[in-house]
Symmetry: C2
Subunit: 119 residues, 2 copies
């Protein structure tokens, strides 16, 4: 089965979503990510979606769930790299990504995570 790689970098985990994630791939990502947070004691998760041309409500919900699960395990989630037209479409669809922090790009997202880890 396809699975999305999770990169461990310092205190943080990095996930780059490049393919449309549906059903099993999404569940698999949630499983693997929570497992990796527990194993590594990571303080934050950076999710990059710059490779996605389209984010539907299902993917948005998966990302929201990942953020909630990570928070329970004491890791903050920052979503980065959203294409401008993806942001427009999400708002037009009424998807708010409540509870998910966002940053413009991976660099800014990593800075945000570092600041959160210090406080």
């Amino acid at each position: 089965m396809e699975s999305i790689p999770i990169l461990h970098m310092g205190d943080f985990l990095l996930v780059t979503i490049q393919i449309d994630i549906h059903d099993l791939v999404a569940l698999n990502l949630q499983d693997n990510l929570t497992q990796r947070i527990a194993e590594t004691g990571a303080r934050g998760v950076l999710i990059d979606i710059s490779g996605l041309d389209m984010v539907d409500s299902y993917i948005a919900r998966v990302i929201g769930n990942i953020a909630l699960m990570s928070r329970v395990l004491d890791a903050e989630t920052v979503l980065v790299g959203m294409q401008p037209y993806v942001a427009i479409t999400l708002v037009e669809m009424g998807v708010t990504l409540a509870g998910v922090r966002t940053a413009l790009n991976a660099d800014k997202g990593m800075t945000m995570l570092r600041n959160m880890a210090i406080n």
Copy 2:
């Protein structure tokens, strides 16, 4: 056209290859990456292939070329996350990945890049 996202983090660029790259996607990655190195003045490129179950000689050559191009632009390339059976297959196929530095995982690869950037 499908394109592989390039993440800019501090002094380095990060590429996670999750899909089989062929022809146009590979050329596109070379173009984008060299462009981004020039734009950002990045000192290193981390290429993660932990999501690949198979690395054929074409992909190995693309990675080798990327390393050569990056070096000309004063950026070192480190390849990380190779699955053990991928390493076995590459050696059995006679692919040596000459000129490409490797590290076990993204964390070690990033440390390697940082040390190279200091020296």
